[in-house]
Symmetry: D3
Subunit: 339 residues, 6 copies
């Protein structure tokens, strides 16, 4: 089974430690973005994953390309050209101080790419699963159009489509997001919806917006999940991460998965995170891994949420954790020094 | 409204991470000191703040000067000359290991300055509020004398005097502190007293000295605060930060403010701090900001304590947090990633 | 005498040491750009210098703003707003490996600013000297238009205009540059032309393009300089830096200055540079400083070229060298440890 | 009283922060190993401690040698020669992610040393206490033989032998460990046994292996400790650290000490550790210090466990904490900034 | 054309800047080794290059594997297993202080691999060129045997064999080297011999051992090169780098290439190197690239030596320089800032 | 033979790379000072060297103490107590930019020590050679007095006194220096005089002050050296380093040694230094080493100057170079990679 994920990878510039941008005289550089993170998760878990984007032919584009290759992602379908790589600045919060992300992604090679640069027949050749998140169509109208092209091709060629709704308030309005995502959902076979995604991208009320009480609202979430399946019958399964968040680091996390009319729910993990980004992508990557390897629904959701919270303990965007490590945490919760 | 703060800024040499000084082969360099921190808080909050000190005419003095200028403090009244910039070494603790400060400030340009180098008529021209903390008169007899000069000028020219009692056990004895501070308090319009300050600088018993139970002793604090007003009728308001401290990072913080015979008390913030210095200065800075902008007493104390605990999440001495950020934390307690 | 410089300041992201971008997992961050560098030179030399640009209202824009303030530049005329701060990536070469600059400046706040956002009457109030380089009109058509607005205002209000022709091949073609710069030169009172600037911006042949033999072609340069004055009678003086460059670090540098029909030429400095950027801006800054302080033409050119080669020994974009230090190098060439 | 500890010191290569080895492009280098850590603890506490090992005559061996000397350990008995210094790679965990140690110690100078290179008569001359841990005999058969040589010499010359059983699953099997350690225990005067050491090295069941509930099983531990004394009558005292571990950082720690048929138990310390290695060695070092200085059994165990948890707040392997600091923590639990 | 290189990649631990190992408290970590460096050169130049070695299945082995993949090397033939990755410590010299390399490679996964783990039929399937250096057979007897296996298979299946004689005095004696390399040379189609390689590995006197005068002895070198062809008629071409070295950084470099009885010689490059390792491997990589792309003999040697001296300006082991960059240096020697 | 050196060790705070102090947000921390550097040189060369100073009992004093111990210096005679450790800030120059040292040493523990804290009978017990430099008596009147005490004791007890005149213009005037040093010279057995030392400390004209032409004035130097012996008959030998300095890094160095009426002169070393401090101390250390080991006068001066220029290639203050390494450089000048 070969998976293709489609989206944007950016240069991530993080200040050292918890410095504010106005204090920093250097940035840690890494590369990440929702769909590339999913591809790296899959490659790290041992799957055959390719990533599709467009990268500028300059050293910054090369560095992003190499970083994907370094972690075993198939980069052979990536388009090269265009002006620049998108950037995001990252200030890591602490306790009551929220982590802050500043996008500088306008005018990126992918955003400026024409929809017809994507020859889906070639790009999807040999692909079994196609993944994208709601970030991708939000990038630009032409990328939105490209996503439609991909989904239609998948739909007519039996390629499974998995979508993480992944709403980004800094990228588009709820109105705009809904007008696009509702349409795209017609082609989606499995959908991941977290937190505000229900409302923002599909207009379904599942969550009152208070991140401190996501898990406490599990019943509303269940209703929201059922509503998705009701509205989008092509969508055969829905997964979701629920959270109670207390500080920038402390929270409770659980996964819920609706399949064949049954809800499978993971235990609640109480964690203090090291760097709270990429957990949703890690969840998606683990979920696809489990689907590819035929995990039972209960194992699937347990594995996915464990992978997701393990990501909270890994720096940068990629969830560089092996299947063996995830399974060990699931089993023992062992945290003593391994020596 | 223009504010002048008067005191010493030092070179702060912090070991990387939590290294002991004997382990470190480098120091992070920044600049700070109570009154300069207050000035930077004010400038960051958008106020017109000047800082007064004496800095050596050498590159280390220039660097301190530039750092103030960088964050928008008016440096035009700073005296230049003298031998050296005071230094403090900083070892960041962890849990049961206390954070440790080693002063190397003897012989600094300010400590060696003559009282008559300070031409208060010129230095206080255009100033509406004058701020100093108990650290300033503790620096040297000549600086103590200078403070008296300033306060007398303020008193006779209608400039509001705000003082953070700020006792430092490594700088002077309680006996010496009381002999000076009791005198200075005659000229103070608003006073900030925390923890041991009551006893050490004014001989008022408000706290048993156990940092683990400051908030638990709120009633004694209230009595201490009332006692201040009783003894120093010129002092029209008193503010205080109360804390229960559990470890080097974990604690509960609240603010209390006496004005016109009424106590205004903030909610209790339970926090895990990133770097527990400068919170008192952040409190003072926010308090002055609120006074300048006519905040209601309740908003004033809520805003000040929120600013203070936000500082616990910022590295180095300066509280580089905007008014908008403080208000957002006050309102929502929102800690999810902002993106 | 107050100087205003107008142009773009960018975030500069340099790889550590000599790493290639594809090797680096971090960047040193500083801020610079031709005209901001000139303003910092002037402030460091003790002059009253303001910088004009447009900066985004976000932490990256704030950091650029603060960095200027830190070094004493008057930032009160800077416009705030727009989308992003321009960036340039910097890879430091070595010997036969050239230093490489990768611009990522499209869509910057300044580039997108409308010409009529610049109210020249207000912005030039109290200004005696206006400086810009050829980079500024190359940024965008609206900035080009703004430059015309400024020059016309200066011309009619007796403000001296100084221009460093400063051709950037990655920003515009020679054809486009000439069509603009020839027009702007009508208003220029003093012009700095280096290397390829003669040909690229004014169509005057002074240099065969071989950086290894600039000084060797001094006679052609002299002709080129005379030609400038012939073509642009408003331009009362011309200065130029001539170089023989052997490697990325090694070269010979000299200055030449035409004033009142006489050529003043500095000695040749043979240097091994630490970081070969910003030397032209340091030359311009020192030249303006000398003009403001009435240096004799010979001292002016000697001082300017010494400041310029001193910049080669300073990291980042700004020439943080005092007048005293430059004069000491001019006099003694003393390089022993100062202790 | 002079103490000699015998074992291996290694180069420790830790990734920065919490990076995975596959992410890191650098390592923090320090030096450590159980018995060297004990020697440094003793020297830091003011005792006369020597360390015995074999180090290669190359710069890496020199660096380990110097690091011991730096912290006051007597290095005059160390053998020089052999091929390489053992290495261990260290990845610091976080919350549910365990800290991970990767040994690269095969073929080290000590492992390859012949037993007869150790002239115990000379090496133990002037020594009052000999300390080793279970790691030492696990290094290689020849080192195991050397340990036997040392213990026999000590036994017949009245030198006290102290052993921390210290089982390492990556170094030898329980079967092999028991066959050696049971024999060595005949010569041991005081024994430290923690967690799985009872079972793994002596075949005594004291702990079900679940690190989350060590303290909860205190009664079984007490039985295990009594069993040690029953089986090894030469062993006049037994000390043990009991722990409930919740995450990679959070846990409860207590000490227990059996002497003259009486159990002395410390309070339970609830801590969030900074770097959870070397705490057992810190415990052993403090215990020996207390024995040397005639602490009462209750003070001994309280001091030792406090030293041990203080180590959790210190980076690298060595417990660089003075007796005064330990006593202050024991007394007050004071964690406010010391200034 | 597909190239396979065979040898060992090691973890390289370099002290920061020029620190001595005894001063350093950290190491920069990268990965390199002669044959892996050649593979990366080829991949960077756009060729299809695979690397063969054996890597341990642990995070350090993974990191080496990933680093190769990052730069585009085909890692699909690499064996996994064994105990450890070889290490080399690196201290960068300066002027009269030589750069120093300390090997810690004994017991590596490759050294311990059995010769029959290498199934040459599978490993060489689809390969056109096989490259190894004299380092590979020096690793261990079993690796030596594996090399013989590979060469015999190549010889009988028309795969071109290229060998860089690459003598390492710390790995084997001249006597041992000659006994092996003379035998292996029977199968070599193109040979690279530098400096002492002639004497040490083939017993041919071409150089008096004085690195300060290699180029000065060009005539002896020419005789040595002819002698190689005379003794090993299978060897159809010989290439060599000649050097005059003045300091750890300063030297003159030239290439010489014997093909069809004619000597092709490059210009002499006078360079000041940044980090003088890997230049020989860069030469070999460029040479193979030129052969694959049918460069004329003169262009071949000019290109190879230029690539080699460019490597002197790149940090770490890999020559991350594109064909375009090498050609630009060959043509212009241009070293001005590219912007 | 046991050597005692007496003087001050300071905390050295160097900006990273070549940053100006006003640019740096961190300092590299190391420890050094003329006489401590000599002690470390001797210990590194294998000699029995002790260092005498007074260090504060705080972590910064401990770190200096440990650093000496780390490199094998006998620290048992060091006094502890006093207020602070002296500091010096260090900005590394480049080419025409001089390296700059900013002292912050006033009020140090040593400077404030009373002369009678030094019990010379105990401190000099077992000592064969006593070394100090002209920096020591310049520290304070009480230290000057202590030096007199030491020299008188040495003189009457047959302990050899070696003095490096070592004039520091920032510490005392030539007038003051001469009044002290001329007196002290009565007791000196071997004297080292460099550059301006002749004039500044002894009033002997040997050098015109132009560092670019020291070697060129060798004849005047020879006269100066002879003059020393003439004026101070107790001084049986004089050594001197002569230099032609071209830039902050480039220079020519040679040694000259007068013994028994004969001048021994080393070859001239042309070097490009990495960090030009401590070379004089390295010279003194090597000279004492050679005297202790009975080197012939010619070998002595050759060895000493080679050690001195090797120091130019080592970072920080200490010359961490072995006798073997110095001898290898003396013999071969070999600078190729050692592997």
């Amino acid at each position: 089974m070969k998976i293709l994920t489609f989206g944007e990878i950016m240069l991530r510039l993080k200040t050292p430690e918890h410095l504010r941008i106005v204090q920093a005289d250097g940035f840690e550089a890494s590369y990440g973005g929702a769909e590339s993170n999913v591809a790296v998760s899959l490659a790290t878990l041992g799957d055959d994953a390719a990533f599709l984007t467009k990268l500028p032919k300059n050293p910054v584009g090369d560095a992003a390309f190499n970083e994907l290759r370094r972690y075993g992602v198939d980069t052979s379908r990536i388009l090269r050209g265009g002006a620049r790589l998108g950037i995001y600045f990252f200030e890591k919060g602490s306790d009551i101080r929220p982590t802050s992300v500043l996008y500088d992604r306008a005018g990126s090679a992918l955003a400026e790419a024409d929809a017809d640069e994507f020859n889906w027949e070639a790009l999807l050749s040999g692909i079994d699963i196609f993944f994208f998140s709601g970030v991708t169509p939000a990038i630009s109208p032409s990328v939105e159009q490209a996503v439609f092209g991909a989904l239609k091709y998948c739909h007519s060629h039996g390629i499974t489509v998995i979508c993480d709704l992944n709403y980004r308030t800094k990228m588009w309005s709820q109105e705009k997001a809904q007008s696009v995502m509702k349409e795209l959902m017609q082609y989606v076979d499995l959908c991941i919806a977290n937190d505000e995604d229900f409302e923002a991208t599909l207009g379904i009320h599942a969550f009152d917006g208070d991140m401190a009480h996501g898990i406490d609202q599990i019943e509303t979430y269940r209703q929201g999940i059922l509503k998705i399946q009701e509205l989008y019958p092509n969508c055969k399964a829905v997964a979701s991460v629920l959270r109670n968040l207390k500080t920038a680091e402390d929270g409770e996390w659980m996964g819920i998965y609706l399949k064949d009319g049954h809800f499978y729910e993971s235990p609640i993990h109480t964690v203090h995170s090291l760097e709270a980004v990429g957990a949703g992508d890690a969840f998606a990557g683990a979920l696809i891994h489990g689907l590819v390897h035929g995990f039972s629904p209960q194992k699937l959701i347990d594995f996915s949420i464990t992978a997701s919270v393990m990501k909270l303990m890994i720096q940068h965007d990629f969830n560089l954790v092996s299947e063996e490590e995830i399974l060990r945490i699931m089993k023992t919760g062992e945290t003593n020094v391994i020596r």
